[in-house]
């Protein structure tokens, strides 16, 4: 599948999560952090569940992580995702508690805990998908 054929695209303008996608277009992995107490707010929400602050900011972190889990999808459920393909869950090295999803073509050899590195897939002028490759 070429990138231009991909039709399932993320909403990038949501008030709570848009900053993540804005960062992706700039080639950054961003996480939302409470400006009062530093708590990681993931999934991104405008309110800090730890200290009650509404004050937060997006922080760029290193695009490296560890593989938390993965699955090779062999039963196709969507026309845009021919099988086999692999979905990865990656724990960010620089932001403990933050985990992101990635897509890999085919069925690469993988192991839980292995290092992963971010890659930025420019889908169109508006959307860049952060992806994760074995490092």
């Amino acid at each position: 599948m070429t990138q231009s054929q991909r039709r399932v695209l993320p909403e990038t303008q949501d008030p709570d999560t848009g900053g993540f996608w804005e960062g992706a277009r700039l080639g950054e992995i961003r996480v939302l952090e409470c400006s009062s107490c530093g708590t990681l707010l993931h999934m991104p929400r405008a309110y800090c569940y730890r200290c009650g602050s509404w004050d937060n900011h997006w922080k760029a972190v290193a695009g490296t992580g560890r593989l938390h889990s993965w699955t090779v999808v062999e039963h196709q459920v969507h026309p845009d995702f021919p099988t086999p393909y692999t979905v990865v869950l990656v724990d960010l090295d620089a932001a403990p508690g933050a985990r992101l999803v990635g897509y890999l073509d085919g069925a690469p050899e993988l192991a839980v805990g292995q290092p992963m590195r971010a890659r930025f897939e420019n889908v169109d002028d508006d959307v860049t998908l952060p992806q994760w490759d074995p490092a």
């Binding site: 695209l9 990038t12 699955t71 039963h75 969507h78 869950l89 508690g97 839980v112």
Partner: protein, 395 residues
């Protein structure tokens, strides 16, 4: 134990149960299925349809309270409840019905779940049809664009992680599928009644989302189930032995995460479900523990879901679910026989409500895989987001 526990414990009972047939193509509307199951449950309770005065439905059901109230000839619809969400709802639906009875809001409450889950809306299909997905606190934008589209794929990621953390084997998952199939083979109403399943069949079946294969997945089903909840006192007059509602609980974990299902993959741990919190509360309210449970109906949208719940409900330690199931502990005669109708894996997926019906059969002594002398039955409705569960007991 608190006084609140005693205010609920054994005060209500399930007096009637009813189901439709479970098929791949009912040829009937969701409403017709709901009505057929409801009429059967009301008759089983020894009531006239007009005596129903409360109805509890699941939020995902297409059938509404008034749809049923009209055709049943309900004279005075006094209580209408909706419980979220999907497969998390069934035990809590019974709990809500019992709470309404105890509070005096209704006397005889019909609880139903109806779906054309195979021929109609299929939950195993991706719902990502729009050009842009996510936003509005669904967080789907972090998942669907990467091809993470179904509950089965979520549980595949969980199963892979459980294998890595604890050494769980594919043959452990197989044991759950085989056990449910053996129970279905004894149940003439089960969709898989006539089809044996061997370990070779299981291992040779196609992979859906690794490490989960075809028979790790439940049977998308057309069908409906209903039960009638009333006071323990009134239930004594019903034709069948009442199944007393010992306790009900709902629970979530400290970091439940938002959204419908995909963000659960962002929890600190993905190998413990909200089942843990739900179970702890349930046992406390019941004044019972795992060793007091004679038989259980575990929510089995997938095999791995059962394995996690066996751990979270305390039948074995966290991480030991694999060896536990592979040593026969969930079989008839084991520590905790499970899913005695065949479960969602081999009877039919009626989104957790068929488990409530089968639990009542166990308490009545009428299951096709009856646990001799069963006095207590656990029902779990604890897949991904929050959870609910209940314990029934004989009077």
């Amino acid at each position: 134990m608190s006084g609140d526990d005693l205010a609920f414990r054994d005060r209500c009972a399930i007096a009637g149960i009813g189901t439709t047939d479970f098929t791949r193509n009912s040829g009937r509307s969701d409403f017709t299925l709901a009505l057929q199951a409801s009429l059967a449950a009301i008759e089983d309770a020894g009531l006239a349809p007009g005596e129903i005065d409360g109805i509890v439905r699941c939020d995902l059901d297409l059938v509404r309270h008034n749809d049923l109230a009209h055709v049943l000839g309900v004279r005075d619809l006094s209580y209408m409840g909706d419980v979220s969400v999907g497969g998390v709802a069934p035990s809590a639906m019974v709990g809500q019905a019992a709470a309404a009875v105890i509070a005096g809001l209704a006397k005889n409450v019909l609880v139903f779940r109806s779906l054309n889950g195979r021929s109609g809306r299929r939950y195993g299909r991706s719902s990502a049809t729009q050009s842009k997905v996510g936003g509005n606190n669904t967080y789907d934008e972090f998942f669907a664009p990467y091809g993470l589209l179904t509950s089965g794929q979520i549980f595949a990621l969980i199963a892979q992680r459980h294998m890595a953390e604890f050494g769980t084997k594919e043959t452990d998952l197989a044991q759950i599928a085989l056990t449910c199939r053996a129970r279905a083979n004894a149940n003439p109403g089960a969709q898989m009644h006539d089809r044996k399943l061997t370990l070779d069949d299981y291992l040779n079946a196609r992979m859906i989302a690794s490490p989960l294969r075809l028979f790790d997945f439940c049977l998308e089903t057309d069908g409906a189930c209903a039960v009638v909840v009333t006071s323990a006192e009134r239930a004594k007059d019903s034709p069948n032995p009442p199944a007393l509602i010992r306790a009900v609980s709902q629970g979530a974990m400290l970091d439940p995460q938002p959204g419908v299902q995909f963000p659960v993959l962002m929890r600190d741990t993905i190998t413990t479900l909200p089942a843990k919190a739900t179970a702890d509360k349930l046992y406390s309210r019941a004044g019972m523990g795992p060793s007091d449970i004679d038989v259980a109906q575990f929510y089995d949208c997938f095999s791995i879901t059962v394995l996690l719940q066996l751990e979270d409900f305390g039948f074995c330690a966290k991480g030991e679910g694999g060896p536990f199931v592979s040593s026969g502990e969930i079989d008839m005669g084991g520590t905790i026989p499970i899913n005695t109708s065949g479960g969602h894996l081999s009877d039919g997926y009626v989104h957790g409500m068929s488990h409530v019906v089968e639990a009542v059969r166990q308490i009545r002594g009428t299951s096709t895989s009856q646990v001799p002398g069963a006095q207590t039955c656990l029902v779990t409705s604890t897949p991904l987001p929050p959870g609910s569960a209940l314990i029934l007991r004989a009077s």
